[in-house]
């Protein structure tokens, strides 16, 4: 055991594209390091635009992708040594993913509860009493659903928000220490988004689960995360306390992101509306 839950140590990932003669090497992630403390669960937001390498980084943490340089240690175990079999199962017991598109997270042709019982079967602790149904129902209640609402249902019968709750419940059934969520609310409707985001806070506070929240949305990152990392072209350009970094960004790119983020509070004050970003300041328009 170690007192670091996750130790990302100077990792890089280079993809090779094209044939033997015209191979192009694309560095998706370059020299990224950060740590998560085992004793203090937190929400770490990784912020970046498309192509910033944030998704590749999250896939390396999930051990779906292997780094080309550096290494990742989870609970002191090098992820490169975990490939298959019981060790991989033990790793997935502690680290679980939540994906972007709730409609894609489950096979559209299969019933939803299947995944829940599968996870329960694979990771259930031996000391857990009661039937699998009770365990699944109990976990679903943590995310505001119940087995009655989910059992025998197909994904298309539920809304995006409900599906994302099921996805979270599925992850929770493994009893993980870390959840890696890649854009978990970007495809959720506005009226359901806050509830999901609040749920992440509850997981951290009540269940002591650390969450890596990958997003491009600065506002929700500000709202839930404790720490943030801003990535550009595969590198971390700024990191630190979420509130401080987002209120007073230092790196030019972070400032650019912060300024470009369209925030609804500006709208209340018409003087800074979009019209005035353009040359003309007159409020008259030609018709």
């Amino acid at each position: 055991m170690s007192d670091l839950l996750l130790d990302v140590c100077r990792v890089g990932k280079t993809f090779t594209r094209g044939g033997l003669l015209s191979a192009q090497r694309i560095a998706a992630v370059k020299d990224v390091s950060f740590q998560l403390d085992a004793a203090r669960p937190e929400i770490l937001a990784i912020i970046g635009e498309s192509g910033s390498g944030k998704t590749t980084l999250s896939r390396m943490i999930l051990n779906i992708e292997t780094p080309t340089n550096g290494k990742l240690l989870f609970d002191g175990v090098d992820l490169a040594t975990i490939r298959a079999g019981p060790r991989r199962l033990a790793f997935m017991h502690k680290v679980q993913p939540i994906f972007q598109n709730p409609f894609e997270s489950f096979n559209p042709l299969k019933r939803l509860d299947r995944y829940l019982f599968m996870t329960q079967r694979s990771f259930a602790a031996a000391d857990r009493r009661g039937t699998p149904e009770m365990a699944v129902d109990e976990t679903l209640r943590k995310v505001g659903l119940s087995l009655g609402e989910v059992s025998r249902r197909y994904p298309h019968e539920l809304s995006g928000g409900q599906l994302q709750r099921v996805a979270i419940a599925r992850a929770l059934l493994a009893n993980p220490k870390l959840i890696v969520a890649d854009e978990p609310v970007s495809m959720i409707d506005a009226s359901l988004r806050v509830a999901i985001v609040n749920l992440f806070k509850t997981l951290r506070d009540d269940l002591g689960i650390s969450i890596i929240y990958v997003t491009h949305d600065l506002a929700t990152a500000y709202y839930i995360s404790d720490r943030i990392m801003i990535m550009q072209n595969g590198r971390v350009v700024e990191s630190g306390d979420a509130k401080t970094v987002l209120r007073t960004p230092q790196h030019p790119y972070s400032r650019q992101l912060r300024e470009a983020a369209l925030l609804p509070e500006i709208a209340a004050d018409l003087s800074v509306r979009m019209d005035d970003f353009n040359s003309s300041t007159s409020s008259e328009r030609q018709i």
């Binding site: 997935m92 679980q96 972007q100 894609e104 997270s105 559209p108 042709l109 995944y115 996870t119 493994a174």
Partner: protein, 287 residues
Amino acid sequence: MAAILRDLLRYHAEFRIGAGLIAVVLLLSVLASFSPYPPQDVYVVPPDVPPSLTYWFGTTSRGQDVFWQLTFALRNTLLFGCTVALISRLLALVVGLLSGYKGGWIDRALMSVNDTFIVIPLLPILVLFYFVMRDRMSWLLLAMIMACLGWAYDARLIRSVAISLKAREFTQSGLFSGMSTREILVQEHLPYVMPIVFSTTMNNMVWSIGLEVTLAVLGFTDINTPTIGGMIYWANQHTAMVAGVWWWIAFPTIAIIMTFVGLFLLAVSMNDYIDPRSRLHDFGGAS
């Protein structure tokens, strides 16, 4: 399944016609069990009798009843096609799904085998086998050989679907639910490639039956087992067309065309129904 068949029968004209044709063919092949004469025996009825009430499809120059001979021939030909299709589908599924999902060196190894089979020239190989095996060439052995030669192209097709399935989020959900590779392939991916399997089954049967008829007409098969090709072979041996015994050739030809058209129509209409995209379209509604 019964409901699907009923819906298809009610609303799909292609399916109705296809099912009707195949039903006639199947009925004929089942009648083989009630034949008054063993299939190999010759001169059991007067030779060269044109179609009449006694001999519905006439008799051959070898003193066989064309009707009963045809039932045996259809049964053997269909059995041959099914055997080839079944074995080659299994091969294509295992290789295609595994290769697409696993990737890496497994994919490269399987695909190099696959591509080797794609480029092997069929007819010369089959003829070569016949000349090597001669009398030991039973229809079962021929079916095995054809199955080994008939899976490669479809395996590539299945692999391409499997690769796209691998990239979808529900595959990862399955993986992180603790499913084994076999479970993911069979339960998650198989339903998506079933449309390919179904439509290629029909195509594969058409292909293998066609090839068997070709070989039989040329005399490169076990001519003592009555098949459609075998009947035409014997008819040609006795110059049936020149002798005016047209029924000896006409009825097997009509039967084989009915089989081909029926299988083709079934493939088309089943594909229409099973395709997950059109099924999801039914579920999805607006958006």
